[in-house]
Symmetry: C2
Subunit: 337 residues, 2 copies
DNA sequence: CTGTTAGCGCTTTCAG
DNA sequence: CTGAAAGCGCTAACAG
């Protein structure tokens, strides 16, 4: 038979409520009593029943990870971080795919929260780019944590200074003598595409280089879009000597386009990406890119969320560090012809 | 204020229990009553409280997906299928990473189930290869569903005839004139490695080709292990004209090794893999491989699990179809020298 | 076919 | 600092 709180109370010679207090780290229990209760809990191998706890306490000990079709690599890293943080706090995480473009998204999420009594949400890009969605959740008092939101002000979660990261990356390229640098943009829905594009422009400006719109083409974060964009840039009458793609998958596409045009990387063309996904190490030559601490981002975002759940007003927006990964896909600019 | 079953009952002019019966699809309610109740439910936008339901009904409406470090692509496909099936049945799925090599794994899982009152588990490889674990769960009466278990007999879940799939794949290679065919094995922990190896041997036997142990090298499903294995095979005094790697990541490694040795694929060397992961389409040339319906496998495994939960004895082992993906990485064997 | 009565195991009052 | 009682919202068991 299952051990109940009542049994623990009887065995420890206290009331149920005292056991409950100890288990929930509530104040107002003498140290010695607390110790005795804990011993009994361990001795009896007592585990509180989550359903009963939820019903009485009006919370579920569950958070949901909301996502819409991101890269599996990225998402799994986030998941690992989130689950890790949840485990430490005896929370569970449920996966919740949603459709970013669904006009009824906010309603869907709201009824989801109501129906499942979720204690909080973790939002991943591009969901974190929808001001309307975030405002709605705030309005309804649903605790949530954002990963890389487009507008971090006044929200809780994690960000990364992608603008600055791209500036540094581009500064390296410029330092290698590149003057005509192309850019493959990310999916227009993603705030990240904007930041990375802005970083690209800032870097050019800081170096006193002219911004040439012809050198910027749209992509959508996929390998295929990178391939297509690569061809467009490489077939330009005056082609760039370096290309910065807004993520690694597209950079891989660019490298493939270069190969098909008979260009050698990095001798004829330097290529760099963003994200440091596994593919960046499997390409030949290995890709210069920027590493985000994705797993830690999931972890920290979750900890901020759990803080908020426990104590509204406790969570904040945490800035995470990035790290440039200089590898063999970038090199000195070819000599002027 | 939240709508309760009591409110619905009052509004519909029936008892709580009748509402409960309707909501749980229990028999013994007149059609007209059922319809009236449903209308009221919709009108009031009533959602049963999962915690109360769990407490009273003694189940959680939660299943867990257990995994140990599989490929993100594979796992996310599974997740998508599982979540999809769960959604239809108003179940939630929690992610539960575990350590396959932990000697206390069975205990961990057992206490996990007890502590969270999980209704069932979905196990992914290599967890499904541990007879001891599966037996233990059976013994404890925990419902679970297996994805690609090493020994499918008497379990519920999904399998795929990997042996036969590999035979077909190899038969194509042999049909192209290849006689010296290498194999890069998968991680020794995975049943899949055995099946694929066995398929390789069967195909050779059926074609009357001699099995040469020198042409088989160990890998562990990673790109790097495929790269290393590729070098070993290609540096053989009498190297193979085709290589079958037990998964796509390793096949990618082999292709890279070929490139570094100056061999052209498929002119000098044919390469094929298994899994049809995205990388297989991003390589140049595109990789010949075998597609598993991974998402459907997650879906079907979950439906079998939910069936078992509702009615012990309802779930079964479902055989899923595979599909050969012939692409450009395989071609006729080079002429004998 | 439908309703009544007890709990499920915990936390929250509110008293001591 | 500790305890007794009163539910949380639902379903199970038994009546009708």
């Amino acid at each position: 038979m299952r051990v109940r709180i009542e049994d623990v109370a009887a065995a420890a010679g206290v009331s149920m409520k005292t056991v409950s207090r100890v288990l929930n780290h509530e104040p107002g229990v003498r140290q010695s009593t607390r110790a005795r209760v804990m011993e009994t809990v361990v001795a009896l191998d007592y585990r509180p029943d989550p359903s009963a706890r939820s019903l009485a306490g009006n919370r579920s000990y569950l958070v949901a990870l909301l996502y819409d079709n991101p890269s599996p690599n990225y998402l799994m890293e986030i998941v690992t971080g989130v689950v890790d943080a949840c485990e430490q706090h005896h929370y569970g995480m449920v996966m919740q795919p949603v459709a970013f473009h669904d006009p009824g998204l906010a309603d869907t999420i709201e009824s989801l929260v109501n129906a499942s009594r979720l204690d909080g949400l973790i939002l991943t890009p591009p969901l974190t780019d929808s001001q309307a969605l975030l405002d709605r959740l705030d309005e309804r008092g649903v605790p949530f944590s954002c990963i890389s939101p487009r507008h971090p002000q006044g929200r809780i979660g994690v960000t990364l200074d992608e603008h600055e990261a791209v500036c540094e990356l581009l500064a390296q390229l410029i330092g290698l003598g590149h003057r005509r640098i192309g850019h493959v943009r990310g999916h227009p829905d993603h705030g990240a595409s904007e930041w990375r594009m802005a970083g690209y422009r800032s870097a050019l400006r800081r170096a006193g280089l002219r911004y040439d719109p012809a050198l910027v083409v749209d992509g959508e974060f996929s390998f295929d879009s990178g391939l297509a964009a690569g061809f467009r840039l490489l077939d330009l009458p005056s082609r760039p000597t370096a290309i910065f793609a807004a993520n690694d998958d597209m950079a891989a596409g660019v490298m493939r386009a270069a190969a098909e045009r008979g260009l050698r990387v990095p001798d004829d063309l330097s290529v760099c990406g963003f994200d440091n996904t596994p593919i960046s190490q499997q390409m030949f030559p290995r890709l210069t890119t920027v590493q985000q601490p994705t797993r830690d981002m999931g972890q920290v975002a979750t900890m901020q969320l759990l803080g908020t759940i426990r104590d509204r007003g406790a969570g904040r927006m945490v800035k995470m560090p990035y790290a440039l990964q200089g590898r063999q896909s970038t090199g000195p600019a070819p000599a002027e012809k």
